[in-house]
Point group: C3
């Protein structure tokens, strides 16, 4: 690999080489220029999706299996639309009612999907590491759509795509195009959140300054090892940031040992209009959805036309997933090499 | 709009204008000529569906999302087949297992579907008005596949298509082609039925004489405001009618305050062969399905080859839904204007 | 029909005639040359599925409905991929949540699917005979994807395709290409297994020597009427066989009247490495999946690279189902007549 990343990490290797990963398991294995390459590739699909006839036959003839062992309407819809818009034959395996329930091992399921000659498998699973386990057993690319408390790489990538789009619009006086120097706070259940984990990895890799904020019981034990600044006081954490990224609080955490009550949580960690005023005046609001309105985020904030990027995140999600499916299936399609940098 | 409906309501506006509704929420907002236009448009799809290769690429490149918040195998199948036969990328959102369960608001779900750049959204929901709520929030056409006790417009339109096909066959000596003068009785749970509501609106708009028949507890309070004649005695209601439209009785109504028992219901409101003899000798039998055989309709009536239109209703359903999807997505496809009247 | 089967049953009727069955309900109605014809037809799809772009538009424009009244992830996936790879419009009817639950009869469901103008219906149902019942009511081909304890014909056909592929590889010194003289033991719940039933019918029709092995309580009462040799001692049954076909033990049989415990079952009827040594040294291991590892089959046997055909069975399944869908829909597509024998 003759990768020649510049200081801005925006150069690709000299021509003719393929994307160096078979799978997309997480952000951790990606070099900064690989992250940026996926974002650049997504731009064309953002444009396509905004055109009247939003279909391309790049993946025609390929079979994509969405194997969701954990329910997720949004992410499944997003991947399904991405695959179909690229012309692939897309099938969903609803694993909640699958042979897994009949006692089959995960590896046997993986071997089965491989034997059916899938060209890409998208996996969501409640166990951290399940996606890697499957990727090791199958010949085709595996895309992680969220595994346990490990990673959710397409979420972090779509968040970055949304952020970069905002930076390029000039709305942020601090950073223009570059993530270097951008101040971001991620607030919520940092400890159990794969969205937080993938976003921390991606944002720090691109040079952003990341703060995390959580109740003490929801802060990871090994937070010291991450290149972030931890806070337990949201008012301090949000002070002067350019981006506020809220996490969804799982219902099951909203009582018992972690959080006394939803009301208490909103009081201390909810994004209210008052609290948003502590951030920079141009600060962008993000949330991976689905939102608990009135808990981690107030409706008046979520619906701010100029400030909230929540709907744009969903839009970027389809485009980003199209890019990942396209790039990772190039080998099987005989379409090797990098496209020209945008 | 230079609409010039004739007495028979069968003329379209002078050329070049688009169908004047973004959505299909109900029959209520439709002018008679708009109803007839949708029926006319469906004719070509009836023909296509009867041909060996029943596929057309009119909607190729478009994304249709079927968001069913209430289970319905038939209607979902019908819409899914309609969309796929027209070449669209069709995805189903099984809302029973969706983020809605995670506490997401209906409007947030709608905004999400919109952000994924759907070109048409088909909604079924247990709450009256849910479809309108979503339609107001999204840019693309929304088709109501049944919302609470409000409307089920494609059912009424497919019933009308079935009826018109029968009238044109000459089987009815009273009316030929025209709905004017046609005597129809709708029998069942008029009060809670969106099928009844949409059919009453459509049939009276086209000039049919509509009688409704229900047990007193299942008759709407505001029946006086509808242009129908209410009956509580089915033997009187069915007397001399050209068409008998039976409604499905929901299991949950079959005990308790509404109906003493299924047996009692059949005795008083079931369509038995004896009771059918009270209708006109040529009378057509309709039912939206699925049937409770032996409750609201006897098997010997449901299976009458010459009299029962129940299977044809299913067939017309696919064609009619193809017409609605085609007409409502013309704007996004840049296919404006009316086709020549058939 | 001018069928002229030779001793090897490998000739087709003189040209120009269509496959003589509308449906594929079971192996029982098929003549040996019809079985072989389906296997021959599958070869081209095996090749296609191993190529980079595994798509063909043979069934473009056709509507295939997968109506699964019983959950089955693998078989549904296999049929769905088969249909989509052939370019058909494929829709799944998840009957677990269907109108059937609302009290609709199976025949009414069949009539509905027929009225929607399906070109092929794939049925899985918990009741023996349900598929035939539906096939009698609909105009289009019906494919049995497993009905009660009756038949599972595509499983037997894919097993035969896997076996023939192995025979042709020369790995079996006894039989080459031909099933005549091949010694096969089928072990497991012979009494309740549709897989066993279809395989016994197919393998004996092609001239293989079939042994069956089961605990006494899981042996069919009418085993004498089948052309097989029954055993209750697996060590005797497996002695010198060329092929060991294990059946999946249903969890619900693993206690109570049939089997004392999973551990006991493994001890007496599980395929352990020691027991496999009693078979011929070249013996092939088969299992329809999903496996209960450590119960009916040990992991060390299931994963033997040279001996286990389990993964290949899955691969052959997609190709075989493509062949069945292709052959049975030729009439509607106007593609009559036999292809040239391979």
């Amino acid at each position: 690999m003759t990768a020649t990343p510049t200081s801005s990490s925006r150069s690709y290797p000299a021509g003719g080489e393929a994307f160096p990963h078979k799978d997309l398991i997480g952000i951790a294995p990606l070099a900064p220029w690989q992250i940026l390459y996926l974002l650049d590739e997504a731009e064309q699909w953002v444009k396509l999706n905004r055109s009247p006839l939003k279909h391309n036959d790049a993946l025609a003839g390929l079979t994509i299996i969405n194997a969701f062992f954990e329910n997720s309407t949004r992410t499944l819809l997003s991947f399904e639309i991405a695959g179909k818009r690229l012309g692939a034959d897309v099938v969903n395996m609803h694993a909640a009612t699958s042979s897994v329930k009949k006692g089959e091992t995960l590896i046997d399921t993986a071997t089965t999907l491989n034997a059916m000659r899938a060209d890409a498998i998208v996996i969501r699973h409640a166990s951290s590491g399940a996606t890697q386990l499957i990727a090791d057993k199958v010949a085709c690319p595996v895309l992680n759509a969220g595994d346990g408390q490990h990673e959710h790489p397409t979420q972090a990538l779509l968040d970055a795509l949304t952020l970069r789009d905002w930076l390029r619009s000039g709305a942020c006086p601090v950073a223009k195009e570059e993530f270097v120097g951008l101040k971001i706070v991620i607030c919520g259940d940092i400890r159990h959140s794969r969205v937080a984990r993938s976003n921390i990895l991606l944002l720090t890799a691109l040079g952003a300054e990341v703060r995390v904020c959580a109740p003490p019981a929801l802060m990871p034990y090994d937070i010291e090892r991450m290149r972030v600044t931890p806070f337990t006081d949201f008012n301090q954490a949000i002070d002067g940031v350019d981006v506020v990224m809220m996490l969804r609080i799982q219902m099951e955490r909203m009582s018992g040992p972690f959080i006394p009550s939803a009301r208490e949580y909103r009081h201390l960690f909810g994004l209210t209009p008052e609290r948003l005023k502590l951030a920079a005046p141009h600060a962008l609001v993000m949330h991976p959805g689905p939102m608990n309105r009135g808990v981690e985020i107030d409706s008046s904030v979520a619906d701010m036309l100029e400030r909230s990027a929540i709907t744009r995140q969903v839009e970027m999600g389809v485009a980003l997933r199209m890019a990942c499916l396209d790039v990772l299936t190039r080998r099987v399609r005989g379409v090797e090499g990098w496209g020209a940098p945008l």
